[in-house]
């Protein structure tokens, strides 16, 4: 079966999914997965539970925030850059207002409470 190669960036506590169990700063593994895979398949290949990740980017476009993960079925293609952040990261609203988002997240934000005008989206706004 044909495979695609994904340029994966893992930050903070997620860095150990890159292969070095002691790494806590960042890791940049190149992960091969079958053609036609979606983001959930990449998570499976990394052996990372989706709830462990927070802010996520696909090719520099925001695709998920803690509490909003509409990107699990987002198709990936060869050479995509996917970045996963740990849950202690943050990105306040005013510093991301107007950034590139994948269409699925843009839709989910508009449909979320207060059109997404929040800093965090976890239940109870707490972690």
């Amino acid at each position: 079966m044909a495979t695609i190669r994904i340029d994966v960036w893992l930050y903070g506590a997620l860095a150990h999914y890159g292969g070095n169990p002691d790494e806590r700063v960042f890791a940049n593994p190149q992960v091969s997965i079958p053609e036609g895979s979606a983001l959930r398949d990449l998570l499976k290949a990394l052996k990372m539970d989706t709830q462990e990740r927070g802010i996520t980017f696909i090719n520099g476009d925001l695709s998920a925030m803690p509490g909003i993960q509409p990107d699990l079925d987002h198709p990936l293609k060869d050479g995509d850059r996917v970045a996963f952040f740990h849950l202690q990261s943050m990105w306040p609203f005013q510093y991301r207002h107007g950034v590139g988002m994948i269409a699925e997240l843009q839709q989910a934000m508009l449909e979320s409470e207060d059109s997404g005008l929040h800093h965090t989206y976890q239940s109870g706004k707490e972690s």
Binding site: N59, M90, P92, Q94, H118, E126
Partner: protein, 584 residues
Amino acid sequence: MFFVRVNMNDRTYQVTETPPEYRHLAGRGLTSTLVANEVPPLCHPLGPNNKLVFAAGFLSGTSAPTSARISVGAKSPLTGGIKEANAGTSWAADLAAMNIQALIIEGQPKEKGAYWGITITWEGKPKVEFFESTQYTGKVLPDVYPAMYEKYGDKISVCGVGMAAEHGYGNSGVVFNDMHKRPTRYAGRGGMGAVMASKGLKFIVLNRMGAPGMPIVDKALFEEGRKKMIDALRTHAITKPKGALNTYGTAVLINIMNEAGGLPTRNFSSGRFEGAPRIAGEAIFETNKKRKGEEIYNHACSPGCIIQCSNTIFDEKGDEITSCLEYESDWSLGADCGIDNLDDVAQLNALCNAYGLDTIETGTTIAVAMEAGVIPFGDSKGAINLVHEMGKGTPIGRILGAGAATTGRVYGVTRVPVVKGQAMPAYEPRAVKGIGITYATTTMGADHTAGYTIAPEILGVMGKQDPLSPEGKAALSRAFQATTAFIDSSGHCLFIAFAILDIASGYQGMIDEVNGVLGTSWTADDILKQGAEILKAERRFNEAAGIGKEADRMPEFMKTEPLPPHNNVFDVPDAALDSVFAEL
């Protein structure tokens, strides 16, 4: 409450009751209103007619959490417009405890090169005394700050200016003591240091002993609000103990902005820096852990702060290089200069603190100089040398000390990331267009702290506009700027906004706290209106100073040069930018 006016013409002072029209103003609202009312808009910022105003927030000096902010206002030598810069420090709480609502520094001594300090003590009302300070000039701040504690004891708070201010730089801050009596907490932006130095004033020493403390009209309401605020800050993911800010500090944004393609790199020529992970908050935390043998969580910049986001960078021997290295400083002295050596970035930050330079303006200026070929991008040792030149006041140091805009003019650089003469902070407007609208339109010149939001009800100001359309973003920026002007008046650190936007009881807590202190019954609508009035006063001053809507624009290169990796330009129409203040 009192107004204390210090006249540096003849070194006299006056203490008066707060005039009724200023009774319900504090922090930025008070500094900006006073400057707008009393400073001739066309005066020279470093001349005798400018005034330097200090005002603590409504809640400074109380037990409200994270509330020891001091605002410093004047006409800016960097932008030529109105300026408010603020810092977190015990100095704010002490000024409020002495019931000084505004400290206004006026005039200018005739003696060139002579400096004085003032002490303010409590003797039934504030008492000002002058002392010679010329002997403390021409030296780095860490070498002269301890002299104030030796002279006036441990119970004081100290405000001062460094060599950058003595040189008259547009890039020079006013510094305040941190929790360890060190000169590290800066009202950094816009050259407020040079305004203070132009008045022959080197230090302002406060000793609150015997002072009555900040009066609270409705203590029960204040307590209720305070508890709501504490609950919000202690439970929100960003502000809680061992949360994002307490663990990684604001530098946690380095990797985020880099992945978003919005981390300005090598003088705003790219949105992504390959060295970002090596200078980011995660790297700082892990490097400290390795060097100190334990996890080091961040500390408070000022008394009563429960967010505690200030980090420390330790060297290989475990000794401190600098504290604190904020995201914007880390970015400007790191990514924007193409520097990925964390220890050298920390060293640059420490030098800025020692000379009294604004870290954002310094990094962006060096990046412009790098683009001009003065030194190569990535040359961290060369950058350290340039900061020393700035401190020493050599010819090239003075060019750089005038800021990024002047440096660009001197070297013929066209890619100069400034608005109204002030260098842009760490969020690329071509990638984050919402903040670009705020950069362009704020009265302060490009400023990342001008547009925070505190309540989702703000969406109501947009009517049926799409929040992602240019018009929708402009409407949100207008509301963000108004709410920020109020937070900057409250005495709270802006970072409370992270918690209270998401936790409605926290937002109500802030309103209750302020109403408790003042005995008012302000509502959420009143807060938005007050913020808007502050912006209007600032705008009036700027227009009279020759800074009208034509200045509410991004630099040309951002409209024509696509920014990798997204390859976007800043395409928000001028009409949308104009609507921010036209519809205020």
